[in-house]
């Protein structure tokens, strides 16, 4: 078998050294009646070509986003990834290396993480960022727990503009941990009065901007309201490219900033692996979950990087750790960092501008169609429209006409009474022809 180097004579020699009569002697601790003679119900080994054939057939049963005019965001965004990113992350030394616990032979990973942390801190307007979490939704839940530890309170208030699945994840964790959650109802127009929900038992308010419906929110007054009651502001974003155009949460007074980094450097991948970004103030770093790469010197006095402040983590603190997290999203963080380095500040700003321009153009085209209402005052590259039709049925109709038209809100929030709302995204990949095709298809559907 192509992945197993030992042959029969190797095994015989090795068994002889071990002093075992046969291989089953090494499995004698398995209770006799629980030993398998073979793995039943599973076919035998397959050649590369057979595996390719099987998986290619499966893949062909999906509609790839790039094959049609594609306008779906809602927490994961389709962007152009420069060719060298995927090439570089496939280098053996990045792809097949382990967590950098032996820093002398892992400076590649450690320096890349240090650069990544700096980029994330700069983007979010915060002082320090960690070496990544699994994704935006779990980073958000961990931020909630961090706020509880810092304030010694147990109640989180979730904005109605937070991605419904992020809210679901936070609510699941809170319920299991015995903490309290106040979940505001879905806030399509960014008109909620979240300040009124903050009291002396609130540990944090969690607010997303650009929000789930695409609205841009001013976090400064929310931060002030939270701080006045001794609570913290956790700011969330799901579209990292927005930070190239929109004021950073750090500037607006956020205490912890979390988000999804997928849209820089990482493909859609049907939902994973993605990239959790997590940033905070330096004074709170000891309560921050996740790994941290730090700078130091080696015995020769050369600048070096090493995982540090590890006593926060599970392998030392065990049940008193800040989190149970072990793995980060290393390779995805590297892809993010490479892409962002290739973009640079000027490139990111221009990319963000193109995204906004395409969304503005699309909003105009769709808004001009009879029966379509565009609901946002402000937006970056995503907005919400209302039509006379049920949005889920509309999206199926659009799909049959070869357009992926966006997310029906009811898919993520079936009981919110928002069945006629559709969240639509446009990125730099949506050409004018795409946008025209969408408008034409939508007009036909209505």
């Amino acid at each position: 078998m192509r992945y197993l180097p030992l042959d029969a004579s190797d095994r015989a020699l090795m068994l002889a050294r071990v002093g075992a009569a046969d291989i089953d002697a090494l499995f004698s601790d398995i209770p006799a009646d629980k030993r398998l003679s073979a793995l039943l119900d599973m076919p035998g080994s397959m050649s590369e070509l057979e595996v390719e054939r099987a998986l290619t057939t499966m893949a062909a049963r999906n509609v790839a986003a790039g094959s049609v005019p594609f306008f779906l965001g809602a927490g994961a965004y389709r962007h152009h990834i420069p060719a060298s990113v995927d090439h570089l992350i496939q280098r053996s030394e990045f792809l097949t290396s382990y967590t950098p616990y032996q820093p002398e032979i892992a400076q590649g990973t450690l320096q890349a993480l240090f650069e990544f942390q700096t980029q994330v801190a700069a983007l979010t307007g915060m002082e320090v960022a960690n070496a990544s979490m699994y994704d935006g939704s779990t980073a958000c839940a961990e931020a909630m727990l961090m706020a509880h530890r810092l304030t010694r309170r147990k109640k989180a208030v979730l904005s109605g503009g937070l991605h419904p699945q992020y809210s679901d994840v936070a609510a699941t964790l809170a319920e299991m941990a015995g903490d309290e959650i106040v979940r505001m109802s879905l806030d399509v127009r960014a008109s909620e009065d979240i300040g009124a929900e903050i009291d002396d038992s609130t540990s944090c308010v969690i607010v997303q901007t650009p929000d789930f419906f695409g609205n841009l929110r001013d976090l400064a007054p929310i931060a002030a309201a939270a701080h006045a009651k001794g609570a913290l502001l956790v700011a969330v974003f799901t579209e990292a490219v927005s930070l190239g155009a929109v004021r950073s949460p750090g500037e607006m007074g956020a205490d912890i900033v979390v988000g999804e980094g997928q849209s820089i450097g990482n493909a859609l991948n049907f939902g994973g692996p993605y990239l959790g970004l997590f940033a905070a103030h330096l004074k709170h770093v000891r309560q921050m979950p996740g790994r941290l790469a730090g700078e130091t010197l080696d015995a020769d006095g050369r600048r070096s990087f090493v995982l540090t402040l590890s006593t926060r983590e599970q392998h030392i603190r065990r049940e008193k750790a800040t989190s149970n997290i072990c793995t980060n999203s290393g390779l995805c963080a590297l892809a993010f960092s490479i892409h962002l380095t290739l973009l640079g500040e000027a490139g990111l700003r221009r990319l963000a501008r193109v995204n906004h321009a395409h969304a503005v153009d699309l909003a105009e085209r769709l808004g001009a169609i009879g029966g379509v209402s565009m609901l946002n005052e402000t937006f970056f590259n995503e907005f919400t429209i209302r039509t006379p039709r049920n949005a889920r049925a509309l999206v199926e109709d659009l799909a049959s006409r070869g357009v992926i038209g966006g997310l029906p809100v009811s898919r993520l929030a079936p009981d919110a009474g928002l069945d006629d709302l559709l969240v639509v995204a446009a990125t730099e990949l949506n050409s004018a022809a795409d946008r025209a095709a969408y408008a034409a298809a939508l007009a036909q559907c209505l």
């Binding site: 927490g75 053996s92 679901d168 692996p273 015995a299 049940e319 000027a346």
Partner: protein, 514 residues
């Protein structure tokens, strides 16, 4: 808590290395930070300037510098290639990290994961447009159920520790369904457990009670019974355990737990030892996470991403979280809301680590029933071969007994040498090996945990063994210079970790003008 500290900064000055103008040494290259070489206006991506348009950002436009340097493509490629050269990797050499299962990462996996039909698909596309993706998840799920003999599987956890949390949440939900959530709030955990076990339990409000292993390195049903009470919700047991031993009393332990109305969580990190040889479901396990990045070869990527699907017994199946794939009728569907079901909630947005699912399925299809079993046998044989080849020089805490896929040594054999496990590990680096797992598990002093995996040829294993023998004899002969300042030839010498913790520098900052 861990109270076994060790030196964290270099102690002795060393003979100076030959310097160079650049600081490079032939192919061993230094590389500056992007913040030192990049420019805010440089870019390796050409992007159009849009025609003027009316902005809809309201007053929210970002002003001021962000602080993100750019590099053109040739500069960026050079930067990252030079960085990569300072990393050890499984592609380059044996990685004997116990409990990490550093097996070969097949490149077919990478090719399959990059098929546009898998990687260029959005999780929230209409279900009719992603039938192939659902089929892949469903196919992998069924394979995992076949290998484990369990009833249901949650595919959504993003990593092993996330899977542990998922499994414990399902147990907590099951206990709450019986109205016992206030009384059953203790989880039994052996001291040898990985730190994620007690951390996961504590996150959701369980307190942890230690259950001791015997002198033979495994937990007895008797000691579990002694620790059991009506306040116990579950036990978290790793099998094979972190000492590399099969928990031979596992069925008795499962029975004891179930009789007491409690559940059995199994940490599946060491599943590579027993795939195709036994099934956790047959042993009485109620929930077990599987590390796709260990047993099923998805690449470690310098620390992640992983994937940690959780298999459940009948007792827990109905509590599994959303989302999950359902088949029945013509098309595959996706259940995304708990609704009236007993699903305990949601672990993360979207559906799980699809990219890792593709890779894991490619691995499983490639190996098939015969290959998977052979892989486990080879992994266990390789570890025992190492054990038999080093046992005369290095001390094993549980005597000469057979191990599973990993072999554990402690530091008693180094007692009179004045050298530590750390010194020994660092000297391996100069020989071109990544050190084995050290100082874990905590139950043994100066632990050295070696897991060669099935991916090593006999020649590779023999060279590794001979190298360790050479180092061991050197240590015992008092040849300290080889050890105390090691590594001497790596891109960096021993780092000052004390300084890194006392004066944390966690990002680059622009130096103040002179």
């Amino acid at each position: 808590m861990n109270i076994q500290g060790r030196p964290t900064r270099p102690t002795q000055a060393s003979p100076a290395r030959r310097g160079s103008f650049t600081g490079n040494r032939a192919l061993d290259m230094e590389e500056a930070l992007i913040f030192e070489t990049g420019r805010l206006d440089a870019s390796g991506v050409d992007i159009e300037h849009p025609a003027p348009f009316a902005s809809r950002l309201g007053g929210h436009a970002r002003a001021g510098e962000i602080g993100l340097p750019g590099l053109t493509e040739p500069e960026a490629v050079r930067h990252y290639v030079r960085l990569s050269r300072n990393n050890y990797s499984i592609d380059a050499g044996l990685y004997p990290l116990g409990s990490c299962t550093m097996k070969h990462n097949p490149r077919l996996n990478e090719k399959m994961a990059r098929l546009p039909g898998f990687c260029d698909v959005h999780p929230l596309q209409p279900i009719s447009t992603v039938q192939g993706a659902l089929e892949l998840i469903d196919t992998l799920a069924r394979k995992l159920l076949t290998m484990t003999g369990m009833s249901a599987v949650a595919m959504s956890p993003k990593a092993g520790a996330h899977g542990e949390l998922c499994g414990m949440m399902a147990i907590k939900a099951a206990i709450a369904a019986r109205g016992e959530e206030k009384t059953r709030n203790v989880v039994l955990v052996p001291d040898s457990a990985h730190g994620t076990n007690p951390a996961s339990a504590a996150l959701i409000g369980f307190s942890v009670r230690a259950v001791p292993a015997g002198a033979d390195g495994v937990v007895s049903a008797q000691s579990v019974r002694a620790a059991l009470g009506p306040d116990v919700a579950a036990i978290m047991l790793t099998n094979p355990n972190t000492c590399g031993l099969f928990e031979r009393d596992i069925v008795g332990i499962a029975d004891a737990m179930h009789e007491a109305g409690a559940y059995f969580y199994c940490d599946g990190a060491n599943f590579n030892a027993v795939v195709g040889k036994t099934r956790p479901g047959d042993l009485g396990v109620d929930a077990m996470h599987i590390n796709l990045h260990k047993t099923f070869s998805t690449p470690h990527g310098g620390g992640g991403p992983g994937a940690g699907p959780v298999v459940f017994s009948e007792r827990l199946a109905s509590f599994a979280p959303v989302p999950f794939v359902v088949s029945g009728g013509e098309a595959l569907g996706l259940v995304e809301h708990a609704g009236d079901s007993r699903a305990f909630g949601r672990m993360s947005a979207f559906h799980g680590q699809m990219g890792m699912f593709v890779r894991a399925l490619a691995f499983i299809l490639s190996h098939g029933a015969d290959g998977l079993r052979q892989a486990s046998e080879d992994a266990v044989l390789a570890a025992n071969y190492v054990r038999a080849s080093l046992g005369d020089l290095m001390s094993a805490p549980f005597g000469e007994r057979t191990c599973m896929h990993e072999v554990l040594f402690d530091d008693r054999w180094l007692k009179d040498s004045g050298l530590t496990t750390l010194d020994f590990a660092k000297a391996m680096i100069d020989e071109g090996y990544h050190p084995m797992t050290v100082y874990f598990p905590l139950v043994v002093h100066g632990a050295m945990l070696i897991e060669p995996t099935e991916s090593e040829s006999k020649a590779s294993l023999d060279l590794f063994i001979m190298t360790l023998r050479d180092l061991a004899m050197s240590a015992l002969a008092g040849e300290r210079e080889r050890f105390v300042d090691a590594p001497l030839d790596a891109p960096r010498r021993r780092l000052d970790e004390t300084r890194a913790a006392r004066q944390p520098i966690l990002r680059w900052t622009k130096p103040a003008p002179a």
